[in-house]
Symmetry: C2
Subunit: 232 residues, 2 copies
């Protein structure tokens, strides 16, 4: 049976600062769940019934309008936290972009546990503050950057965040060949662009020798300095 003590994200997720016996208590109220690529974990506007930690895989958080326009408002990687503690409704949909493993909790159980364990609440606060900073930085991209600047910024960001968990050397944490878990449509939904514009900007960066596109989902950064310059 899986246990928190052997969990691969044990030292990076919000449970990192908990004592042995606290982790055991948390273990008792949570359960593992696997998700297939494309599977939805939470629906925008539904009751906030559960929260979760990501163990493996990538998920998207998204808001959408009645007419189908969609905006991805967050990407969630291993050790990240999902859901809306202390809230009535989930303000965004959550869907797995890759096959994923998560550790889910009934929100009420989690809320109660958190209120009794300030160390956990503190971790959650630090994480939420960091996520808010990242989200605000993204607003500058959505409000003010051109299509090329958006894609360049995005490629640089995912080259940092998609590093394999096995990477032991923190100095060399950027990877120049990225296997993207995103379709062109999803890249567009992150950047506030259409699929065609995304495709054209990929082609342009490739034509200019800044990146290579060895396969549909793969990107190789050939000239990182130039990519930084084009990120604005």
């Amino acid at each position: 049976m899986d246990s928190c003590q052997t969990c691969v994200v044990r030292n990076r997720a919000i449970c990192a600062d908990l004592e042995f016996d606290e982790v055991e208590l948390l273990n008792a109220i949570g359960r593992r769940r696997t998700l297939s690529a494309g599977e939805q974990l939470l629906w925008e506007g539904e009751d906030a019934v559960l929260v979760a930690n990501v163990i493996e895989g990538v998920l998207k958080l998204s808001n959408s309008m009645e007419d189908g326009r969609e905006q991805i408002v967050g990407l969630v990687y291993p050790s990240d936290f999902i859901g809306r503690p202390f809230g009535a409704t989930t303000p965004y949909g959550v869907e797995a972009l890759t096959d994923a493993r998560v550790c889910v909790f009934a929100r009420r159980d989690f809320d109660n546990f958190a209120r009794q364990h300030p160390r956990l609440e503190h971790k959650l606060l630090e994480r939420t503050l960091a996520e808010l900073d990242r989200t605000r930085a993204w607003m500058l991209l959505l409000g003010r950057k051109s299509a090329e600047e958006r894609l360049a910024t995005f490629l640089l960001e995912i080259s940092q965040r998609l590093e394999p968990v096995t990477c032991a050397d923190p100095a060399n944490s950027r990877h120049d060949t990225i296997e993207m878990p995103f379709s062109r449509q999803q890249v567009g939904d992150v950047l506030g662009l259409t699929i065609e514009t995304v495709s054209r900007q990929f082609t342009k960066l490739k034509r200019d020798g800044v990146i290579d596109l060895p396969s549909r989902r793969a990107v190789e950064i050939l000239d990182r300095e130039e990519l930084v310059a084009r990120a604005g």
Copy 2:
């Protein structure tokens, strides 16, 4: 001398759940400060030296690029919290849009106090989670909405948030005549639009009888239903 006990935002700010003696301790490490309209409280990228609570007035949080492009990433109203606890640098600039009064703390003092007072951390967590939700909703606007939808959404939002603190009736919390603390340029910086586009959309909404513009900074909502429809 001012004291937290008589503070107008005492029951709405993050100090709301604190005991009498806890508030006294917090009072001891904080001080009041007044800001004139246009005055800057924090600079983007500087060391995170202080945090604050807004007592009165409206402030903006903004990110900008080297070439001068700017995006307002948050608006801060009375009882809201400002700053980046538990962080090394302030990731955005903070500037008063109106004359304002704030209650400031050295970040280190505040961090220490917060870690010893879980009730305060909990309040801060709830506030940060709510702010993250609002920010993500704004990403949908920046990424996917047209200029008209953006302005309509913005007018509806500020008609809720700018209600006077003296308003006793929570059911009637929307105001149809708004005195905006924002210039056209600042509206543009919130919505990711140019000043000219903002002006044209104001004119269009007025021409269509949805709003009236009795003065430069005032907006009267004549047809709220229509405004909601145009907000997308």
